[in-house]
Symmetry: C2
Subunit: 352 residues, 2 copies
């Protein structure tokens, strides 16, 4: 039986995870599938329970699973912790070898009104960012002394290459265009990225490769977002640009991302954070978490049937305007969840 | 006599510098002021002439001047140079101790239509980015080997402090709000920034200090740009965010920036690059270079009279629709320049 490690995390994390799992359960009944769900403490919640943001049992559970579902971690409660929730996330990424974070940015014409950008700029945007996730300045040596501090942005050719291969593979199945974003006019590590990219590109003669400095890319995401297909970049640049890219959709509460492992399980999670400001009010938007579940069902389990059941019910509920306040609705998380489950159960006969 | 070191640089650099200097000359006649202009080779042009992007004579000339005017440097011609034009720029910043780059982002209601953002989000945006310019990952140790590469993001307390003091001083005269942008949930150097900020803030009890992660800030610049007043940040984050911020104005061709020296001359320059794609066609937009001249006149020389003459003529010319193609006009750089000079000469009597 396929096994999923569930890490609900902090603040709104458990709220949206509970919602998504209920919906997932209802869909399994319809498609007569069974997934084993194993929940583990992670992040701040794990610090409270065990003193560590990534307890050994959580790490082993995640490693043993076929996929990992994560909601969101961190928040002010643990800002002064010796080991912060974020440290647990970085350790998990490293331990699971989640080398590539894949984030789609899509603005179909019918959703362009939600974008903070003018319609004529936003519509038909459709690109993907492949962010390197287990190296770079996130994992290089660092020190903090009383008078100075330093962090190291380190990259090996191997680390760069596996990320770029993933990017070129995606581009091959898309618009055949890879843009490597770097700061090669200043950084040595960026120069290595360019060298490796030139070599990897030879294996993909149909794919166009170009380079963009990170400052220029941060402009182009706003002024000409339709120009991109696949952006391949380092951990830090990907962190900044993928959040910038998400914000031009105007729908941060809907976007899921996939982090690819080298051989072990992939991890699926919403791109937003744990939203401490609205936690506990029961109004968190569960859409990004639901989309994380369907992304997992399709990409890891090739279970398009169960994913389709969930997707259709979600679409119906959205069309009915049953939405949380961040999307202009008045529904609570529970009301929206119940509506989606209701829609799943009603539609059931057509699927079985 | 006040002395200005002029570095025209590469591609459209000399085109816009020539335009701005002609206009500046016409304005000096009107206000009966005299500035000594000394031009020096810099960037790619200097590589071609001397082999180095920052020849000794250029450096000494810049150091001896009361202010430095720079147009733009770099471009594909020197991509393979042993020492690239950009290296000359970094050396100049370090040698002149230009520790703070100040960039305004302003979208008054009457210019909101130019913004790629929807009007209701864009209008009344008015913030300034104070970017640290002589340290960070731009100047830390780096190496490039065949299998790996690394760059170091280094900061000392002193470097952070002087940038933050500048930011707080500006905020004191503005909306009294400083946002320090960092990645303190991961980076040691960011933690040091937060420590120093807490201490500096004590000297400015009227100014509100808050912190934002760089990924979140890259979102907020798009979704809530009116929330910022003064953003204080490191060299690399400032590079990315200030370009992102510039692009939400929709008027990159108009924005000037100031780089503050510790004791020597300040440097003034457009925020855009050398635009190799349009160089040599005579259609480069000179507005950002003209604005760099007026910014210099006001901030370094307190010569609001000459600055006012230029400003008024520029405003008139823009109002007449005499604009370069990037702004929807049909004027060449020369035609626009002549129109501004014409406007200066016509208005002359009222100033003398
Ligand atoms: C929480 C933080 C460490 C993390 C990151 O910077 O990678 C987050 O911003 C993300 O993008 O997943
Ligand atoms: C040319 C380059 C080195 C420079 C920088 O990154 O500082 C430029 O982008 C800038 O912002 O002035």
């Amino acid at each position: 039986m396929p096994e999923i490690a569930v890490l609900a995390g902090d603040y709104i994390g458990p709220e949206i995870m509970t919602a998504a799992l209920k919906i997932f359960e209802a869909a399994q009944k319809v498609t007569q599938t069974t997934y084993t769900i194993k929940a583990y403490p992670f992040g701040g919640a794990a610090i409270d329970q065990t003193g560590s943001p990534l307890p050994e049992a959580t790490l082993q559970g995640a490693k043993a699973a076929d996929a990992v579902l994560l909601a969101a971690i961190g928040g002010p409660k643990w800002d002064q912790a010796t080991e912060r929730p974020e440290a647990g996330l970085l350790k998990l990424r490293k331990a699971l070898n989640l080398f590539a974070n894949i984030r789609p940015t899509k603005i179909p014409a019918n959703l362009a009104d939600a974008s903070p950008l003018k319609r004529e700029i936003a519509e038909n945007t459709d690109f993907v960012i492949a962010r390197e996730l287990t190296s770079g300045i996130y994992f290089g040596q660092r020190y903090l002394k009383s008078e100075e501090a330093a962090d190291t942005m380190f990259y090996s050719k191997t680390e760069i290459k596996r990320l770029l291969v993933t990017a070129f593979e995606m581009a091959q199945n898309r618009k055949k265009h890879v843009t490597v974003v770097d700061k090669a006019n200043v950084l040595a590590s960026s120069k290595l990225w360019r060298q490796v990219a030139q070599v990897v590109a030879m294996d993909y003669p149909e794919v166009t490769l170009d380079f963009e400095y990170v400052d220029a890319a941060s402009m182009k995401i706003i002024t000409q977002p339709t120009q991109f297909d696949v952006i391949a970049t380092s951990n830090l640049f990907g962190d900044i640009l993928s959040d910038e890219a998400a914000s031009i959709t105007g729908s941060i509460g809907t976007i899921a991302s996939e982090s690819k492992g080298v051989s072990g399980p992939n991890l699926y999670e919403p791109i937003h954070g744990s939203a401490p400001d609205i936690a506990g009010q029961g109004i968190a938007n569960p859409i990004s978490m639901i989309n994380s579940v369907t992304m997992m069902l399709i990409n890891t389990f090739q279970d398009t049937k169960t994913a389709g059941v969930i997707q259709q019910a979600l679409d119906q509920t959205i069309a009915q305007g049953i939405l949380t306040p961040d999307f202009g609705g008045t529904a609570t998380t529970a009301v929206m969840t119940a509506a989606i489950i209701n829609s799943i159960e009603k539609a059931a006969p057509s699927y079985v």
